[in-house]
């Protein structure tokens, strides 16, 4: 193999043909209210953890739906589980439970029974 001094860039595209939203499907089984998120961002706006870290629940929910787990794995445990987002959510999504489920899956490798 020859080194030309540059390499082909990896695609930045969210390719829904190759990504899998398995985690999202599991999440829906555990917490059906996740389906009703409308990405309004109220959760992220009210989030205390988001003031100090790059934790952003709106983005996490969206990336989870798109099957892009690696992008939010490093930040999912920055939530303090204070529950403010749940109070603010206009759709009644059980946000706290979602964070707990995702955290467990991504850092303990499974979703608890």
């Amino acid at each position: 193999m020859i080194n030309f001094g540059y390499q082909r860039n990896e695609s930045a595209t969210l390719d829904l043909d190759t990504t899998h939203s398995e985690l999202y499907k599991k999440l829906l089984d555990k917490e059906p209210s996740a389906a009703t998120c409308i990405s309004c961002g109220t959760c992220a706006a009210t989030c205390s953890a988001g003031q100090f870290t790059d934790f952003n629940l709106r983005k996490i929910m969206l990336l989870c739906k798109r099957g892009d787990m690696q992008s939010f794995k490093p930040i999912i445990n920055r939530c303090m589980v204070c529950g403010k987002c749940q109070l603010a959510c206009p759709k009644g999504v059980n946000t706290r439970n979602i964070v707990l489920i995702l955290n467990k899956y991504l850092h303990a490798g499974k979703i608890s029974k």
Binding site: L14, D17, A35, T36, S39, L62, K65, R66, D68, K91
Partner: protein, 356 residues
């Protein structure tokens, strides 16, 4: 119940009408039919002029209606039943010539029939945007790209399948095709496509529960009563995927599936997706005959091509010409209930005008 509503809606004005007046209604969609049945009930002579061979307009071509999934033919049949053959329906004709004589209009139709009427109601409605014009979406070229109207026909025929006859495993709806798009000359929102797309998404999931459904939208406009419930159900019950992004292009792979590209604007990333069937939510445009009709009747359209009204708040059933009234989607996109309400208002106004 029928009797009560008849009595409520139509007080015995009809019997007290002494001088029967006549009205020409141009366009026999639901707006024309509803106005015809009201005006004839008031005791006037109504001519219902239709360019096609059948009355009923676009509602006649639809399967079920949002948000209640009521069958379109039920609604249309109710309207036609109420009309009760009281109007003179003239099909396969349009207005060839119009001349105002005192307070009356003399109309010559394309079959050379002459009508003398006391007023005209324009209910010319809309046309569906021709999806071929968004060339990059490949309608008419890629065999699994269809429009929302095509899908309604498939629902009506109970035959929602891809070109190869198989049921779709993945399907996407593209909102705002020919609407909110200055590149095709349509800045306006067509108002009904968002709700239609969500309705059709639910219907697909009802039919094929394992089919993955994606709705690609710019803004979701769930503005009317029960629309938000329908959207909520699409999410909670059917797990329809909503992606905020306008489709940039569609292509076809070797298996004749459609590959679509968009930006997921909420994730901030380009997104690619292969679907078995792509449904284009084609919007509303002014009727293709509107300009011709305007020139014959002396009417004006706004820059969006829909008819101008005298005052968009208080006199939205009056055109710029005396004695010519307007109702329905010829003055801009409307839902079916809005169209019918507008039409009834126009009929009431027309009646007062004719009696004055």
């Amino acid at each position: 119940m029928g009797k009560i509503s008849e009595n409520l809606n139509y007080p015995k004005i009809s019997v007290v009408v002494k001088n029967m007046k006549s009205i020409a209604i141009i366009g026999s969609g639901i707006a024309g039919i509803e106005a015809a049945s009201r005006l004839s009930k008031f005791g006037h002579k109504v001519y219902l002029i239709e360019k096609n061979s059948e009355i009923g307009g676009y509602v006649a071509q639809w399967d079920r209606l949002f948000p209640s999934q009521t069958e379109a033919k039920t609604v249309l049949n109710d309207l036609i039943k109420k009309l009760n053959n009281r109007a003179e329906v003239l099909t396969n004709v349009t207005v060839q010539h119009c001349e105002k004589k005192d307070r009356q209009f003399e109309l010559v139709l394309t079959d050379n029939k002459h009508l003398v009427v006391d007023a005209i109601l324009v209910t010319t409605g809309f046309d569906i945007f021709r999806a071929e014009r968004k060339e990059e979406y490949g309608y008419g070229i890629y065999e699994n790209v269809i429009t929302s109207s095509d899908l309604e026909k498939m629902f009506a025929e109970n035959n929602v399948v891809c070109k190869n006859g198989e049921s779709p495993k993945r399907l996407a709806f593209v909102h705002c095709v020919g609407s909110r798009d200055e590149k095709v000359g349509n800045r306006h929102c067509s108002k009904v496509c968002c709700a239609t797309a969500v309705k059709q998404a639910c219907e697909i999931k009802e039919l094929y529960p394992s089919c993955e459904v994606f709705n690609l939208y710019m803004d979701l406009r769930m503005f009317d009563r029960h629309f938000e419930d329908m959207y909520h159900e699409a999410q909670s019950k059917y797990h329809v995927n909503f992606i905020r992004g306008r489709l940039s292009e569609a292509g076809e792979n070797k298996e004749h599936q459609v590959i679509i590209k968009t930006e997921d604007t909420l994730a901030g990333k380009p997104l690619k997706l292969t679907v078995d069937l792509l449904v284009l939510m084609t919007g509303m445009e002014p009727c293709y005959l509107q300009k011709t009709i305007n020139s014959k009747l002396g009417l004006r359209s706004d820059t969006d091509g829909f008819l101008s009204t005298k005052n968009s708040f208080t006199e939205n059933n009056l055109s710029n010409a005396d004695g010519i009234f307007v109702a329905g989607t010829c003055t801009g996109p409307k839902t079916i209930p809005e169209t019918l309400a507008d039409s009834r208002a126009a009929a009431g106004l027309l009646n007062s005008y004719l009696m004055s």
